[in-house]
C-alpha cells in the first residue's frame, strides 16, 4: 500500500526523497520531511496505540509536541531503542522501526482491552478503595497486576549507543518559538546587532506559517515572507538559529534550558556526533513566542482513532500533503476550524462542519464555507461517534435552548474538532510570571513578568496574524533595547470562539465516557466524581484523577478539565486556577541532561604521580573521595590477606614505602601564621620551633573533630600543614572562612599545595639507611634530625622537604618532592631499599600499622560526633589558650557528661577471629531486644606483627572497662572480647627513635 492518502501535489515534504520505515513490522513509505505520524496517515493508518488504563484503541490527535495519544516505541538500531515517542514529532527516516505500545498480543487484538469492559469499576481513584484484603495480596497479587497493566512503553534494556553534548551559551535576546511572532521578534532584535538566539522545536522554523498556504504577509505569500525572514536572520553573525530545539525549562535569573535534537532524524549521522545537545542559555532578555494549543471537544467516545484536532487536519493536508480522511467532519465551537475546513475542502475532500454555536454567533464564515460546497450545521452538538478502531461516523444533534434534538449520524473517516485555543504559557509560568485570566479568550494569558521576559503572538493570546507579527516585533525590539515600531499587513485571521466544557448531550452523563485527558484515560465523569468526593482544589482533582499528569502534561486537556471543574463547582474559572507548570515543557532524555558526564567523565578520577608505577606493579586500588589510591600490592598467588600480612611485616622488620601524596597540604604564610594556627587548632603553636613538626587536631565550632594531620614549621611565618586525604578541601574551606570572615585582621595567606608535592613515606627500621645515600644537605642523624622534625634539602638532586614522622610507630620519613619528580624519586628509593627488602605497601597496610599503634583515622575512629577526649586526645588541648574554634562547645553539658563513648582496644578470645568493622558491642548478649548497645568497632584487622587480630572501638565509659569482657556482634551471633588499651604494638614507643 503506497501512500494512498498522499495528495498528488503540495506540502513541504521532499517527494524526490522517498523513505521507508516500519510500523509494527509493516513497511511504511513516506518522504523526507514527513513525521512518523504524517507518513502513517499517508498510508491510511490512524490506529497507533492503546490507552494507558482502559487499553482503548487510540490514534493521532495532534500534529505536534502536544500529542497525548500516538505514542510509539522507536528503534534506530542497537542501543537506540526507546519508548513513548510522539509519532507527531518523530521525523520519519530511512530504516527506523516504530512500534505500538501497551498492547498484547497485537495492536488490533489486545487482551488488556477487557479493562474497558471493567471501566465502570475502574473509575478515578478506584484503587484507593479496594485491594486491601487479604492484606498479603497487595504485595503478591494486586500490586504486580496493577503495575504490569500500567506504564505504557518498555524501558531500554541495554546501555545507550549514543553520546550527548552540553553547551552553555549567552545571548542578549533569546527568542523561543519561530512562528510569525518569534520571527518578527528575532528580526527586530537582530537588527540592533545584539546577540540573538532563536530556538524552535520543529525541524523547520516558521511555526504556523509552515501550513499557511493562502495567507499573505506584506504582500507576499506567508512562505515567501518566512523564507526571507530566515534568510535575513541567517545572514547575520550575531544570530544563532536553532531548529529542532525545545526550550523546556525556564529557571531562575533567565537561565533557560533547551534540547537540540542533532542526529535522531538522520540515518547517515556520523558515529561521533552527539544525539542531542543540552543548551543552557543565560539570556539578557527572553521573548516567548510559543504559540497556542488547540483544545479538543469533550463528547462521548471522542477518543476514537480518526478524531483529531481541526488545525491538525489542516496541517496534515497543507504541510505534509496528506489527507487524514476522505470524508471529514469538523466539529467546532471556534472559527479557526472553518479555515481548516476550507483548506481541506480545497484539497478535494468531502467536508461537513458542525458548529455548536447558533447560526447568528457564527458570522460570515458560515456562508463563505457553504459557498465552497461544505455542509455547515450550526447549533449542533456532538453526542458520540461510531466505530472502534477508526471513527466511522459522528453522531450529532441540534441544540436549541439547551434542548437536544434528534440525533443524526454523519458518516466519516476522520473528525477534526476544535474547542478553541489555549496560549502556551508554560515557560512564562515556569519563569514565575503571574497568569491573568482573559474572559474573552477563556484562557490564561501572561500577566506580570517575574523575570526579564516578554511574551508575543498567540502565546500572549493574540490570534490574528497581523497582531502576532506586530507584537513579536515590538517584543523583540524592546528586548534589544530598541524603540523601533513596525506594522505588518497580513490576511486577516478568522478568530473567536465560544468556550464550551463537556458538550451538551442527550445521554445519561453518568454513563457517557467523554475523554478529557486522552493519555491517562480521564473522563469528564471522573472529574465530577472527584468533586463529589470532596476533591475540589484543582490540585486535588489532578492528583485524584491523574488528569494532566501524563507525558503530554495536559497540553490539550488542562483547560477542558479546569472548565469542567469550574462549572461543576460553580466557581469562576480564575478562582479555580491552574495546576503548576513545571519543567520540562516536553519530556527530555536523561542523556541530554547528563551530557558528557558519563563513564570516564562522570566524576574525575584523581591519581597521584606514583599511580602509574603502582598500576604497573599490580596494585589493587580503592576509591577515597575522588582519589584512587593503591590499596595493596598482591604478588602472584597472594590474596589480600596474604599481601597485607607480608607488607605489614616488611615495614616492621625492614622498610616499606607508601605513596602518601593524596594527603592534603596547605601552605600557611604570614606574620600572623602562628596566631592563626592557635585559633584553629586545639594545640598551641607559638612555641613550635622552626624545623619542628606537631600533630594537630582541628574541631568544628560544635566541638567535634573535623580533621587532623602533621604540621611543620618551616619558618617563623610559614607552616606546612597536612590534612587527611578526604578532608583536604573541607579543611582549606574551613580555614579560609575563618580567616576571611572572622579574623580579616590577621596577616595570613593560605595556598593549597596538595598537588605540588608528591609524598613518599619510607617507614621501618631500615628507613634511614634506605634514604641516606639519596639525600644531600640534611644530616639524618637522630640528634640532628629527631622524630617530628622537618628539613629542607635535596634528594636525588631534587629539592625536597623531608619530614621525620611516622604513622606506623616505626622510624619513618616522609619525602616531599615536587610532583613531577615523584615517580623518579620513588624508583630511586625502591632501588636504594632493595638490599633491605623494601616493600611497597598500600592503604590497607597503612591502616593496620597505625591501628597496631592505636593511632586514629579521622572518619573511621571519629564520625562527626566525637570529641578529642572521646578518642583519648584531650591532652593535646592547649590549656592556656582562652579560645580556639570548638573550645566553647566542648564545655556543653552533653560533651562533658559521663557515659560518653571512648576509644579502647579490643582483643578477641580467639586470636584468629577478626571482628567486623561496624560491629556493635553489648555487655550482655542475652538481654531481650532492643538491646542496650555500648558502642561499635571502628577498626579491625588481622595483625601479622602482633600475631593476632586487633580492634579499636568506641565504648561507653570504655576507658574504665579495661580488662572487662564484652560481647561483639558477628554475622551469626556474638563473640567475646576483652577491653584493653588501644595500643597493641611497642607500647613504650621506643621504635620510633630506633
Amino acid at each position: 500500500m503506497a501512500q494512498t492518502y498522499r495528495l498528488p501535489t503540495g506540502g513541504r515534504i521532499d517527494r524526490s526523497k522517498p523513505i521507508r520505515f516500519t510500523f509494527d513490522g509493516r513497511t511504511i513509505e513516506g518522504f523526507a520531511g514527513d513525521t512518523v505520524a504524517s507518513a502513517l496517515l499517508a498510508n491510511g493508518i490512524h490506529l497507533t496505540g492503546r490507552s494507558f488504563k482502559y487499553h482503548r484503541p487510540r490514534g493521532i490527535l495532534t500534529h505536534g509536541s502536544d500529542e497525548p495519544s500516538a505514542l510509539l516505541s522507536v528503534d534506530r538500531g542497537p542501543g537506540r531503542i526507546d519508548p513513548n515517542n510522539r509519532a507527531t514529532v518523530v521525523e520519519a527516516r530511512e530504516g527506523l522501526k516504530a512500534a505500538s505500545q501497551n498492547r498484547w498480543p497485537s495492536l488490533s487484538f489486545d487482551v488488556g482491552a477487557v479493562n474497558d469492559l471493567l471501566s465502570p469499576v475502574f473509575v478515578a481513584g478506584f484503587y484507593y478503595k479496594t485491594f486491601m484484603w487479604p492484606r498479603s495480596f497487595w504485595d503478591r497479587v494486586y500490586e504486580p497486576v496493577i503495575r504490569a497493566a500500567a506504564g505504557l512503553g518498555v524501558a531500554p534494556q541495554v546501555p545507550d549507543a549514543d553520546r550527548y553534548a552540553n553547551r552553555h551559551a549567552h545571548c542578549d535576546v533569546l527568542v523561543v518559538g519561530a512562528g510569525p511572532a518569534g520571527l518578527a521578534a528575532a528580526l527586530a532584535a537582530a537588527k540592533t546587532g545584539k546577540r540573538v538566539i532563536v530556538a524552535d522545536e520543529q525541524p523547520e522554523l516558521g511555526g504556523s506559517l509552515l501550513h499557511e498556504t493562502t495567507t499573505t504577509i506584506d504582500g507576499q505569500s506567508a512562505e515567501a515572507w518566512r523564507a526571507a525572514a530566515i534568510a535575513e536572520l541567517d545572514a547575520q553573525e550575531n544570530v544563532i538559529l536553532l531548529p529542532r530545539t525545545t526550550a523546556f525549562g525556564y529557571y531562575n535569573h533567565n537561565h533557560i534550558a533547551m534540547t537540540e535534537r542533532v542526529t535522531d532524524h538522520r540515518a547517515d549521522a556520523p558515529k561521533t556526533a552527539p544525539r542531542e545537545r543540552l543548551w543552557q542559555v543565560r539570556a539578557g532578555e527572553v521573548v516567548l513566542a510559543t504559540g497556542a494549543h488547540e483544545r479538543p471537544l469533550v463528547f462521548a467516545d471522542n477518543d476514537r482513532p480518526g478524531v483529531m484536532l481541526a488545525e491538525s487536519v489542516r496541517v496534515f493536508v497543507n504541510r505534509y500533503g496528506v489527507l487524514p480522511g476522505r470524508k471529514i467532519v469538523f466539529a467546532t465551537s471556534a472559527v479557526s476550524a472553518y479555515a481548516a475546513a476550507a483548506d481541506v475542502k480545497a484539497a478535494g475532500v468531502d467536508v461537513t462542519l458542525v458548529d455548536l454555536r447558533p447560526e447568528i454567533e457564527c458570522g460570515a464564515e458560515v456562508e463563505r464555507l457553504q459557498a465552497l460546497g461544505v455542509e455547515v450545521l450550526t447549533g449542533h452538538t456532538v453526542v458520540g461517534t461510531k466505530g472502534r478502531m477508526r471513527v466511522e461516523g459522528l453522531i450529532v444533534a441540534p441544540v436549541t435552548n439547551g434542548e437536544i434534538g434528534a440525533r443524526r449520524v454523519i458518516s466519516c473517516d476522520c473528525v477534526g474538532m476544535s474547542g478553541g485555543w489555549t496560549p502556551a504559557v508554560h515557560l512564562f509560568s515556569q519563569s514565575r510570571g503571574k497568569l491573568a485570566y482573559d474572559e474573552g479568550l477563556d484562557a490564561f494569558v501572561p500577566g506580570a513578568s517575574a523575570q526579564a521576559e516578554r511574551s508575543a503572538g498567540a502565546a500572549k493570546g493574540l490570534y490574528d496574524l497581523m497582531d502576532c507579527l506586530a507584537s513579536g516585533f515590538a517584543a523583540g525590539a524592546e528586548a534589544a533595547g530598541s524603540t523601533e515600531v513596525r506594522t505588518f499587513s497580513a490576511t486577516p485571521t478568522p478568530v473567536g470562539f465560544k468556550p464550551v466544557r463537556a458538550l451538551p448531550t442527550d445521554a445519561n452523563p453518568a454513563k457517557v465516557r467523554a475523554f478529557v485527558d486522552f493519555q491517562n484515560d480521564v473522563t469528564a465523569k471522573d472529574l465530577k466524581l472527584a468533586m463529589r468526593e470532596g476533591f475540589e482544589s484543582i490540585e486535588h482533582v489532578k492528583r485524584y484523577t491523574t488528569t494532566g499528569m501524563a507525558t503530554d502534561q495536559g497540553k490539550t486537556s488542562n483547560m477542558n478539565a479546569l472548565g469542567i471543574v469550574s462549572e461543576s463547582l460553580n466557581r469562576p474559572l480564575p478562582s479555580v486556577g491552574t495546576t503548576t507548570f513545571r519543567p520540562p515543557y516536553t519530556p527530555v532524555t536523561f542523556g541530554a541532561l547528563v551530557g558528557p558526564a558519563r563513564d570516564a567523565l562522570f566524576d574525575p578520577i584523581r591519581t597521584t604521580p606514583i599511580h602509574d608505577w603502582a598500576a604497573e606493579h599490580g596494585a589493587k586500588f580503592e576509591n577515597v573521595a575522588l582519589w584512587r589510591r593503591a590499596w595493596f600490592f598482591p604478588r602472584p598467588g597472594e590474596d589480600q590477606h596474604a599481601a597485607v600480612a607480608r607488607e605489614c611485616k616488611a615495614v616492621r622488620n625492614g622498610v616499606g614505602i607508601f605513596d602518601a601524596s593524596t594527603l592534603g597540604k596547605i601552605e600557611v604564610v604570614g606574620p600572623d601564621a602562628a596566631e592563626f594556627m592557635n585559633r584553629l587548632y586545639v594545640n598551641p603553636w607559638t612555641k613550635l620551633g622552626v624545623g619542628r613538626c606537631r600533630y594537630g587536631l582541628m574541631l568544628k565550632e560544635d566541638g567535634f573533630i573535623l580533621d587532623d594531620g602533621v604540621v611543620a614549621r618551616l619558618a617563623d611565618d610559614r607552616f606546612h600543614v597536612t590534612t587527611t586525604t578526604g578532608g583536604a578541601p573541607r579543611v582549606l574551606n574551613h580555614m579560609e572562612d575563618y580567616l576571611q570572615t572572622e579574623w580579616p585582621e590577621l596577616n595570613v595567606f593560605l595556598t593549597s599545595t596538595t598537588e605540588q608535592w608528591a609524598v613518599i613515606a619510607v617507614q621501618g627500621p631500615k628507613a634511614g639507611e634506605t634514604i641516606q645515600n639519596l639525600v644531600s644537605g640534611i644530616d639524618l642523624s637522630n640528634e640532628a634530625f629527631p622524630h617530628m622534625a622537618v628539613r629542607e634539602g635535596h634528594i636525588c638532586g631534587t629539592p625536597c622537604r623531608l619530614f621525620r614522622v611516622s604513622f606506623t610507630g616505626d622510624l619513618g620519613y616522609e619525602i616531599n618532592v615536587p610532583s613531577d619528580y615523584g615517580r623518579a624519586v620513588w624508583e630511586a628509593v625502591m632501588e636504594a631499599g632493595a638490599p633491605f627488602g623494601i616493600t611497597p605497601y598500600g592503604t590497607e597496610t597503612m591502616h593496620v600499622l597505625r591501628a597496631e599503634k592505636g593511632y586514629i583515622i579521622v572518619g573511621q575512629e571519629t564520625d562527626g560526633t566525637v570529641t578529642p577526649d572521646d578518642v583519648g586526645l584531650a591532652g593535646m588541648i592547649a590549656k592556656a589558650k582562652p579560645d580556639f574554634v570548638g573550645k566553647r562547645s566542648l564545655a556543653r553539658p552533653d560533651l562533658v557528661a559521663s557515659g560518653r563513648k571512648q576509644l579502647v582496644g579490643l582483643e578477641t578470645a580467639d586470636p584468629g577471629e577478626v571482628l567486623d568493622e561496624g560491629a556493635q558491642i553489648v555487655a550482655d548478649p542475652d538481654q531481650p531486644i532492643p538491646m542496650k548497645m555500648l558502642g561499635h568497632v571502628t577498626s579491625s584487622y588481622h595483625s601479622a606483627n602482633c600475631g593476632r587480630s586487633i580492634a579499636l572501638a568506641l565504648v561507653e565509659g570504655g576507658r574504665a572497662l579495661s580488662g572487662k569482657t564484652l560481647h561483639v556482634t558477628t554475622p551469626t551471633g556474638f563473640t567475646t572480647v576483652t577491653v584493653r588499651e588501644p595500643v597493641f604494638f611497642d607500647a613504650e614507643g621506643g621504635r620510633i627513635n630506633a
Binding site: 552553555h168 529557571y251 531562575n252 535569573h253 533567565n254 537561565h255 543552557q280 543565560r282 514565575r432 517575574a450 565550632e701 560544635d702 574551606n733 579560609e736 572562612d737 576571611q740 570572615t741 572572622e742 580579616p744 582562652p882 579560645d883 573550645k887 566553647r888 562547645s889 564545655a891 556543653r892 553539658p893
Partner: protein, 97 residues
C-alpha cells in the same frame, strides 16, 4: 541556576559559588562569657525568613572571596551583594514578606 554578582568579579553562575548561610552572625568575642543557651543559639538558631535574607557566599571557583548578599528567599532575587565587613544598604528589620 542563580546568577550571582560577585563584588569582585561581576555576574557569575551559581555553580562557581558556595553558600555559607546567614550572614552577620558575630562569633562572640569571648565564647565563655555566654551561657549554654546563648551559645547553642549562636551555633544553631537561624532567622530563616521568607523574604529578604542576608547571607554569605564565597566565589569558591572564582576569586575565592567570601562576601555577603541580600536575597529574597521567596523570589530568589538578589537585591544586592557587598563585601565582607560591609553593611547592606537595605534595612532588613523592615523586610517582611
Amino acid at each position: 541556576m542563580l546568577l550571582i554578582d560577585c563584588p569582585f568579579c561581576g555576574k557569575r553562575p551559581e555553580v562557581e559559588f558556595r553558600c555559607g548561610g546567614e550572614a552577620h552572625i558575630a562569633r562572640p568575642a569571648n565564647p565563655f562569657a555566654v551561657d549554654d543557651q546563648a551559645w547553642g543559639e549562636h551555633l544553631f538558631v537561624r532567622k530563616n525568613p521568607r523574604g529578604l535574607h542576608a547571607e554569605r557566599w564565597i566565589h569558591a571557583h572564582g576569586c575565592g572571596r567570601w562576601f555577603n548578599a541580600i536575597r529574597d528567599t521567596y523570589t530568589d532575587r538578589f537585591v544586592e551583594t557587598y563585601k565582607a565587613g560591609e553593611r547592606p544598604s537595605v534595612d532588613l528589620s523592615e523586610a517582611r514578606a
